[in-house]
């Protein structure tokens, strides 16, 4: 067995296959039971959504609250799941591949199952649909945060680890004084990314139809759905405005202060040029009254963090277990996992047997091929446009300081708010949906490519740039030999996010409505969306499974090797 990350990469594909079966089986079994349970139940009174702009602030607030609850849940999940995976080698063997699969399942794919599940868990109250929407947000936010925290736990510097053991900190003290602070900057950054992704899905999750079940939760998403149903263009405009305000406020009031605060936890000890600033934090620092009121709270937290909270007199002993014993129990654990997976796999097969035929698989694969083609073409187009732009912007510090926040804002903006406008034009000018709907997939996620490339280009060392200028490297050579290799790792990071986002977005962008008109661009996303509306669970599951497999395959066979290659080539020494 190899060390940490490497071993994980190598054994992943095999575990993925098993884990995907496990998850889908569980989801389907739960979902179908729930489906039966809901039969006599119907939500008869749906709230009426007002299209007045004055109703929007309240709707936006409700949407934002859902977002924040989802974020809090993701944070809790992250702290527990990642800690388990990082601390226990056996748990790691199971939890990591599962996380990888969970990440590749399209967010809206979860929704069709979980909506019914939550409604059946909390019948006759709005809690059910609310929780379903929040869960959708959670699934859009949690995975990358968990990966980031796990990575941090795995890369805790040796000397700090040893120091905390020397001072005999308990697991509790160690968690709050070493592990969480070390992971914090990365975690906050990923929370920001998560929030950006979350807006897209919260909008999509507020107005959904699964089979006979139609749910409308008051919020920006349902306002938009209502606007689409009544073909109200000004209302679409109002919802875009409201969302923009919400995003800006969240950024200023929540994330700027968080980023500025998290900067204290940077591990690099050398001082760096610009430290992130936030007027909110400055305000609170100056406000003496608030200081005084907050002080006891702070002291209380400090006390909790510093208390030992160890149940047993558990001392972190240097454990000595026999190699043989370890191997035997390790083998037993793996066997147990495999048999559990085989069992659930068999369950899945039995469940889907009577309904699905081989021709269904053929149809799904064909649709998957169409969507794959779209993703490839769109990512290539976005690359051709945004890589040169990103490089040019990134090499000009003043310009990139202005453009970077805009790019991040655009990435956070839920692109589905713009769909009605695009659709309006497609209908108006009688354009071919299967071609002209495609760009919608990448409308929101292309910005990840742009701002990652900007970040890469602005981190490009000045001396290398000057060396290039002195050697008079110009034109195509300048791009090919200097800039493109330099930003490649950054570009790949952005492109992975962009392509993952495009797959996710396909479910809402390959098939769209404008009033009574429905445009169908066909593809796997359209397939899943149609099956969801029809409430055809086995086919939804099949669609999701195939989409996940496409995403996982693309990540493992294309993006990760490419990233490893780029990272190795740009490293010196």
């Amino acid at each position: 067995m190899q060390k940490g990350g490497l071993r994980y990469l190598r054994t992943l594909s095999w575990w993925d296959l098993l884990a995907i079966l496990l998850i889908l089986a569980i989801v389907i079994v739960f979902g179908s039971t729930a489906h039966q349970m809901t039969a006599p139940f119907a939500i008869s009174e749906q709230p009426r959504i007002s299209l007045s702009p004055w109703a929007l602030p309240a709707y936006t607030l409700r949407t934002t609250i859902r977002m924040l609850i989802g974020l809090a849940a993701s944070l809790l999940f992250t702290l527990i799941y990642a800690t388990l995976a990082a601390k226990n080698r056996r748990a790691e063997l199971l939890l990591l591949p599962i996380l990888d699969v969970l990440q590749s399942v399209p967010v809206l794919g979860y929704l069709s199952f979980t909506t019914i599940l939550f409604i059946s868990l909390f019948p006759y109250t709005w809690l059910g649909p609310e929780l379903a929407a929040i869960f959708a947000i959670f699934t859009a936010q949690a995975w990358n945060m968990t990966f980031s925290f796990y990575q941090a736990l795995k890369t805790i510097p040796d000397d700090l680890d040893e120091a905390s053991r020397c001072f005999r900190l308990t697991a509790w003290q160690r968690f709050w004084r070493l592990e969480v602070p070390f992971a914090l900057p990365g975690l906050v950054w990923n929370m920001m990314m998560s929030m950006a992704g979350g807006w897209f899905f919260v909008v999509a999750a507020e107005a959904i139809t699964v089979g006979r079940l139609r749910i409308i939760l008051p919020g920006v998403g349902s306002y938009l759905a209502q606007a689409i149903a009544t073909r109200d263009i000004p209302a679409v405009g109002w919802s875009i405005l409201a969302m923009a305000m919400a995003i800006i406020l969240c950024d200023q009031l929540l994330f700027r202060p968080l980023v500025a605060w998290a900067d204290n936890f940077r591990f690099e000890q050398a001082p760096v040029g610009a430290t992130p600033k936030s007027w909110v934090i400055d305000l609170f620092r100056k406000a003496r009254f608030i200081h005084l009121t907050v002080k006891p709270v702070r002291q209380g937290l400090q006390w909790i963090i510093r208390s030992r909270f160890s149940l047993s007199s558990a001392r972190n002993q240097t454990a000595v277990t026999g190699a043989l014993k370890r191997r035997v129990t390790g083998f037993a654990w793996v066997m147990l996992l495999i048999s559990a997976l085989l069992y659930t796999g068999w369950k899945f097969f039995v469940f889907s047997q009577p309904e699905l035929t081989l021709s269904d698989l053929g149809i799904v694969l064909e649709n998957g091929g169409i969507t794959l083609l779209r993703v490839i073409v769109l990512i290539s187009l976005a690359t051709l446009v945004w890589v040169p732009v990103g490089i040019i912007v990134g090499l000009r510090p003043r310009l990139s300081q202005q453009i970077q926040p805009v790019a991040q804002f655009l990435a956070a903006f839920p692109a589905n708010l713009f769909f009605p406008i695009a659709v309006f034009f497609i209908v108006r000018f009688h354009l071919t949906p299967s071609i002209w709907l495609s760009p919608l997939m990448i409308l929101g996620t292309q910005w990840y490519i742009l701002f990652n490339v900007i970040a890469g280009a602005s981190a490009f060392p000045g001396d290398l740039r000057e060396a290039g200028a002195m050697l008079r490297v110009r034109g195509w050579n300048w791009w090919r030999k200097i800039m493109i290799p330099a930003v490649l790792p950054y570009y790949i990071t952005g492109a992975i996010t962009a392509s993952g986002g495009a797959w996710n977005a396909s479910i809402v962008s390959e098939i769209v409505n404008w009033g009574p008109t429905t445009l169908n661009g066909s593809g796997l996303g359209a397939y899943i969306a149609q099956m969801t509306i029809a409430g055809d669970y086995p086919r939804i599951a099949l669609g999701i499974a195939v989409m996940s497999s496409f995403v996982i395959t693309m990540n493992h066979l294309f993006w990760r090797p490419l990233y490893a290659f780029a990272a190795r080539r740009t490293r010196l020494g």
């Binding site: 040893e162 120091a163 020397c166 690099e268 000890q269 030992r308 240097t318 000595v320 190699a323």
Partner: protein, 438 residues
């Protein structure tokens, strides 16, 4: 500790430590080390990198366990970090998100003390070590020297019985290290520190002689005690003192004789082509040989003198000397290095002659190099994957050491134009002579 009057602070008996090789077999890092540390003593543990001295310190701290043997701390068997033992780390190991005050306070978190006592002890440790006024600073605002002062204060705040220092000054520049060292020794000799014993791990010979009451010298691969030297000079000690220089010279001569013995022993026990090689760049080799060939040395020098002149630590100096010795460009004896005839030729030659000479010596005296060349010659396409040689080496050494050894050979072979290596495909290849000359 009620027993610390009767028992020595630290008692190590037959400590062995091995790390598992890929095959599952254990590879020894420390072999049969026994020592005793008395109350109030500063014991130095001197060795080159690879002597396992840091591993040894971590065993003493209870951070890792020994494969066999026993560690007693104040008479009690040690298993896991124990109250009263603290460590000063080479890299300081400060928590960047905690202030100086909080970093020092961290040492007391595991003790059950009242708030006011914690504050008092933190402040007095900060005072003692000269950090007054820096309480609210973050580590990143401090210079290296100040950071290590925080490391010291954090170790002293718990009033340790045993202070373990892992190359505490080696990450600092020479001047700062000197000041910190003498400040610490002033506190020690002025009895301003809480009563304790110190174990200092270092690769700096002068540092060991300046600070320690007793020095234990470890040999490398695996670490073993080769010699024990008491230092009976009064504090403060001066480098100018001839008695001081005598001790330093004695240590150099022990180290050189151990180095040559070891090389021979390895060749004898394993047969050929298996000695781990130090990764010394050919630039360093050229520079070193030139310096040695020119006046005032004229081909012969005391290692201690060279170390001073070139400001080389033993971890830099010995690998070069060892390389020259393995390649038979120089002879090592009793702390003295002397160029061989070919060594002198190498110094005088131009680039082409040097490369030719180097190539000849590689093939003649470095079995691993001639082995690789041989394999490449045998093969039809004159190519061989790296993994082939890597796994051969791993039968005899750890993965990391095998990798470094192979990298060293690659660098030397590239210089000598003996064979080439492509890191992307990780393959060795040899270019036919005709194509190469063209």
């Amino acid at each position: 500790m009620p027993n610390n009057k009767i028992f020595p602070v630290l008692e190590m008996k037959n400590i062995c430590k091995g790390f598992a090789k890929p095959s599952g077999e254990a590879l020894p890092v420390l072999s049969d080390i026994s020592l005793t540390l008395q109350k109030g003593e500063i014991l130095g543990l001197l060795g080159r990198s690879g002597s396992g001295k840091s591993t040894f310190l971590r065993i003493t701290a209870g951070l890792i366990s020994a494969s066999s043997g026993e560690v007693r701390y104040c008479g009690k068997l040690l298993n896991g970090p124990e109250e009263g033992i603290s460590v000063v780390f080479q890299t300081f190991a400060l928590f960047p998100w905690l202030t100086v005050y909080e970093n020092v306070q961290l040492g007391l978190d595991s003790l059950h003390l009242g708030t006011s006592e914690v504050h008092e002890r933190v402040m007095s440790a900060i005072d003692l070590i000269g950090l007054d006024g820096f309480q609210s600073a973050y580590p990143r605002e401090l210079s290296g020297g100040m950071r290590q002062r925080v490391g010291l204060a954090r170790a002293l705040v718990i009033h340790p019985t045993l202070l373990l220092m892992d190359e505490p000054f080696s990450a600092l520049d020479v001047l700062t290290a000197e000041i910190l060292r003498s400040d610490l020794m002033d506190l020690w000799t002025g009895h301003q520190l809480p009563p304790m014993s110190v174990l200092l791990v270092t690769h700096n010979i002068e540092e060991a002689v300046l600070m320690c009451d007793r020095i234990i010298i470890l040999s490398s691969n695996p670490g073993r005690i080769t010699a024990e030297i008491p230092v009976r000079l009064p504090h403060p000690r001066s480098r100018m003192d001839t008695r001081f220089q005598d001790v330093v010279d004695e240590i150099y001569s022990i180290l050189t004789s151990r180095t040559t013995e070891l090389i021979h022993a390895q060749i004898q026990t394993h047969g050929e082509r298996v000695e781990p090689l130090p990764g010394v760049s050919t630039n360093l080799i050229e520079g070193f040989v030139e310096t040695l060939a020119n006046s005032p040395y004229n081909g012969k020098a005391e290692l201690s003198e060279l170390a001073n002149e070139l400001t080389l630590e033993i971890d830099d100096l010995f690998p070069i000397a060892e390389t020259l010795y393995i390649l038979k460009f120089a002879d090592l004896r009793e702390g003295e290095i002397k160029l061989t005839e070919n060594g002198l030729l190498f110094a005088k030659g131009g680039t082409e002659e040097r490369k030719k000479l180097f190539k000849y010596h590689l093939l003649e005296y470095l079995p691993l190099a001639s082995h690789i060349k041989h394999v490449l010659d045998e093969r039809e396409d004159h190519r061989a994957p790296r993994i082939r040689f890597q796994s051969e080496l791993e039968d005899y050494m750890t993965q990391g050491r095998a990798e470094r050894t192979l990298n060293a050979v690659i660098a030397w072979a590239r210089y000598a134009e003996l064979f080439s290596y492509d890191d992307n495909s990780r393959t060795f290849s040899i270019i036919p002579v005709s194509a190469h000359k063209a």
